[in-house]
Symmetry: C2
Subunit: 485 residues, 2 copies
């Protein structure tokens, strides 16, 4: 680990969110922005260790739900890419193209995958034959590339990012619908219950769907500046794709039919951004227990043999329990400096061992969730950690959930939308329609208020009671409006 | 999993190795070669599951040895790439170039990394300041790209492959030497002791070093056709690199000095090729226990409730022990067909449950290592598996080691080299020199015999007793000669 001389982190997250984010990325050594290709960053160990754990949780659930893992090529030939009209329109402006191999011009341009539908689908046409093969559930862990023209920010939006993409083949629309529901449950099970992220799944308006999708469902998380950030999305695709790639199956009735396709894309590096943003505070990071790059830091008060021995004994004990633990032996840092450093790094639990602790057979414990110290009996350490780790995550989740809920506010007029989003809220209101006919009202909101109609929420049915807040026609929907990135 | 109608695999591996390899890749669904970009393949679940386990073992050891994980960008700007002359000469003919983002021509060409020295090194120049930072040990799990002009084969050589690259910064040549030694130990600990692969580490001749290396050490494994295949290599680089990228540190004496650099590259997808090749037999794959995509397959003899219930009970018991287990419920396959299928797939242990087993409270066990069945008491299953898993790996390793050792043969003349490599052996002999002066003799061997001087072995000192087998000058080395891919 690199030495940081100035380690006291103190930026007001609520007031200066943008500065807070930039500073914590730098101070905690999450990503280095000095790599010399615009929009590309180096992910440093502290983020990679957490992201690897995040991958594991997501992949374990996907595998339990019978998705099989693949590694597809990073490059997709131009011709695949152009088979589906909406897809090519949506993605082509963002594609990086490989045109040379050595000094030879390639006979066909190769896209660096911005997403891999067009890679998977040509293979699905070989692999799927019968209704017995369906649903055919796949995924890959991959890095993808988008030539973003908007400003990039580490983890939030960069030209290369790390994600999982799950692609499934179905024999019916019902099976596809079941799949997107399962994807939303997976998102809750992992992103909320393990990573502690609150979000709402919205069905997106017709004008804001994934290129080529019939229906798009996307989770919106929230930043302290009131902007929502899209987290995993899952899509039922138009059958155009199946037709373009000729993916057919023999159904029970003996007839050849085109399949239905769904795709689901949790972007690990962007989910990591939300983990930083949602849980962090003015002192720095605060990692959920299960994905913390380091769960326990042990700090000896002095370098006496007895104390060193005790810290090593504790480390050994905890490592045996499968925890990630380090001892901070750095003699160039003062005791207190170390506290600030590891608090900034977001380590959930600190154990301090000094002479007093030794003589009392006690340990001083600092909890990052409550920002509090207490003493515990040394022999109770394991049972304490067992209770603590559960409580700690519950605290993080509860706090995040409450903050999120407070941000949702009902509005009755354009002025109230404006005021709500100015205050960093998500505005809920009646709205004419999420089909084509509602697009004008959404455009009005975007142009005049600088906010977006995010869609109808999926987890519960909300009935509009009155008229569209913009056009005054009868409302068919209750929608959520927020600023986004 | 896909249905395979023809599941009896029977290709003679020793006689028709090339056919055997192509067939097993196809039948076991390891990789699909029909992807429509030349030299790129789709890695299928059966290989990905094993490769993920292989990644985990390697990464765990690297992290234990204090390497920190990074994710670097996949693209490297042309100017980095051209800073070190030998490197650019060695790699440029193999680079894929990204030249467009959307329809905009990029101001600078971007290389798809063929390896990432030139990406890591520019960042090392920011990160390394003092001798206290050293050794600075990093690695990344990554996919890399090489525009191969030789014929590609799945896993063995393809235009995109999956590897780990570890890059380290040192304050002295001694520290660099210590590092390559450690890398060779890591290779033994994981590739031999866990994956069961025999190999010899050679220091490569001066004319066969990594582009830009001072010294190159590379492991050679062996295929049944007598060709060696290079597995992980580790290199001490020329200080040119440190100078080109301006990587300096302040030493204890207060002086600024250039660092020493080492790099180590285990290619997971190619190591996987050796796992297939070394352990497989005429019936198909044979996976080492710890990296088997599936460790235990349970096959019910009939679909009676009682039997189904028993298989599920066993599955639950084994899963609780952390094993990977499936039950084959496929009603379209006959009992015997299932045996062949899972033997071909390389599953170490099969458990058969029928009425007889049920009434006797016994289980029929099939071991893939011995290709034998036996009965065990049901209640002894766990203790049996515990013993079995250890024995099984030992059997695989012993068999592989013996075959490897048998292949090394001492030769005394050009004719004997020729005969040895024709018989698929590795020829050992006295040789003039591995420096520049020996290159002509090596060229002779390559042109006239079609074999290569692989270098001097590293694990033991071998003293030449006579003259160079080619030029008749006094021999300074004992070398190994073999055909390669």
């Amino acid at each position: 680990m690199q030495k940081n001389k100035k380690i006291i982190f103190n930026v007001n997250k609520e007031k200066n969110f943008s500065e807070w984010f930039s500073e914590i990325v730098k101070k905690a050594e999450l990503a280095d922005l000095r790599y010399n290709v615009k929009g590309f960053v180096v992910f440093q160990p502290w983020s990679v260790l957490a992201m690897e754990k995040m991958y594991k949780y997501l992949e374990d659930v996907l595998q339990r739900k019978k998705h099989k893992p693949y590694f597809f090529p990073t490059v997709i030939p131009e011709k695949n890419f152009e088979l589906e009209a909406a897809h090519v329109k949506g993605f082509t402006p963002q594609v990086f193209w490989v045109t040379y191999g050595g000094d030879k011009k390639l006979t066909e341009k190769l896209a660096l995958r911005p997403t891999s539908e067009t890679a998977f689908y040509q293979m699905f046409s070989y692999w799927v034959r019968s209704y017995k093969d369906l649903p055919f559930k796949t995924y890959q862990r991959a890095n993808v590339f988008r030539y973003e023209t908007k400003a990039t920010r580490p983890f939030l939006r960069s030209r290369e990012f790390h994600w999982i993409e799950a692609h499934c083949v179905h024999d019916s629309l019902e099976s596809a619908e079941k799949q997107v529901k399962e994807d939303m449950e997976t998102t809750k099970e992992v992103l909320h219950d393990i990573f502690g992220l609150p979000f709402i799944f919205f069905e997106r308006p017709s004008w804001d769907k994934f290129p080529g999708a019939l229906r798009t469902f996307a989770a919106d998380a929230l930043n302290p500046d009131g902007r929502v950030i899209q987290q995993p999305s899952t899509h039922i695709l138009q059958q155009d794709f199946a037709k373009a790639f000729n993916i057919k199956f023999k159904d029970k009735d003996g007839k050849e039919k085109y399949v239905f396709l769904t795709c689901y894309g949790p972007a690990i590096s962007r989910i990591f951004a939300s983990v930083i943003i949602v849980h962090g505070d003015n002192k720095g990071l605060k990692f959920p227990w299960k994905i913390a790059p380091l769960q326990v830091i042990i700090i000896p008060a002095t370098y006496d043999n007895e104390i060193i021995k005790k810290t090593m004994e504790i480390k050994k004990l905890l490592i045996k329990e499968g925890l990630s633990v380090e001892i901070d032996f750095d003699k160039e840092k003062r005791f207190g400096e170390k506290f600030y450093f590891w608090e900034m790094k977001g380590v959930p639990l600190r154990i301090e061992v000094g002479k007093k602790e030794l003589s009392e057979k006690m340990l001083t414990i600092y909890r990052r969730d409550l920002d509090k110290k207490k003493k515990i009996k040394e022999k109770e350490l394991l049972s304490y950690i067992k209770r603590f780790s559960k409580e700690y995550d519950e605290n993080l989740i509860k706090k995040a959930d409450n903050l999120f809920k407070e941000r949702i506010i009902d509005v009755k007029s354009k002025k109230e939308i404006e005021k709500a989003v100015m205050l960093g809220k998500i505005a809920r209101c009646d709205f004419c329609s999420l089909d084509k006919e509602g697009e004008k009202c959404a455009e009005f909101i975007e142009k005049k208020i600088g906010a977006e109609v995010r869609g109808r929420r999926v987890d519960r049915k909300e009935e509009p009671k009155g008229k569209c807040i913009i056009c005054n026609k009868k409302a068919k929907e209750v929608v959520y409006i927020a600023r986004s990135y």
